[in-house]
């Protein structure tokens, strides 16, 4: 199991209701593949730096999850089929991993100190 983060931009012309269902659908897809959602951040509507599919705004959603290595690949296929999804990116969650290794380091340090 590894920690990932995935971010996607939804087409604002879907309307609020559809956006809600798309977010839920994506979450369900991730969980349906045996992964655990750690956190969902909604950045909401943001201006795009350049137009994508003639849209100047997009609804950003960021999901942190923990799952097997196959999940990001399946997720990509899922995004590609979703026409309301303007952009997506799934990466290993460095922020989560860094927080963890820091914990480890500090615990190592505290263990070493009594010597």
């Amino acid at each position: 199991m590894r920690k990932y983060e995935t971010i996607f931009i939804l087409d604002p012309s879907l309307g609020e209701e559809r956006i809600e269902t798309e977010i839920k659908r994506t979450g369900d897809f991730i969980e349906g593949h045996g992964a655990k959602i750690l956190r969902t951040d909604r950045w909401g509507m943001r201006r795009l730096s350049y137009p994508i599919a003639k849209k100047t705004q997009g609804y950003y959603v960021l999901i942190f999850f923990e799952g097997e290595v196959s999940v990001p690949k399946d997720l990509e296929g899922f995004y590609r089929l979703n026409e309301g999804c303007l952009r997506f990116l799934t990466t290993l969650s460095e922020t989560e991993a860094a927080a963890e290794s820091e914990e480890e380091e500090s615990s190592h340090r505290s263990k070493k100190q009594p010597e």
């Binding site: 971010i7 960021l62 303007l86 952009r87 990116l89």
Partner: protein, 76 residues
Amino acid sequence: MPEELRRRKTCKFCEQKAKIIDYKDERLLRRFVSDRGRILPRRITGNCAKHQRQLTLAIKRGRHLAMIPFTGETTR
């Protein structure tokens, strides 16, 4: 310029002991691109090679997600 007048540039990320450069931090990324959206070279920013590589990747990810522009701000 005499040696003592030249300000020594240091890597901002090393100074802050940053472990990772987050592509989600738009304000940070914007500091390292020119007003035309190009990635500033190490020559100018003074970043170390390691952090410049990480930064470049972060900027490219940021561009993909339309958080920072590929070209100048005024694309019409």
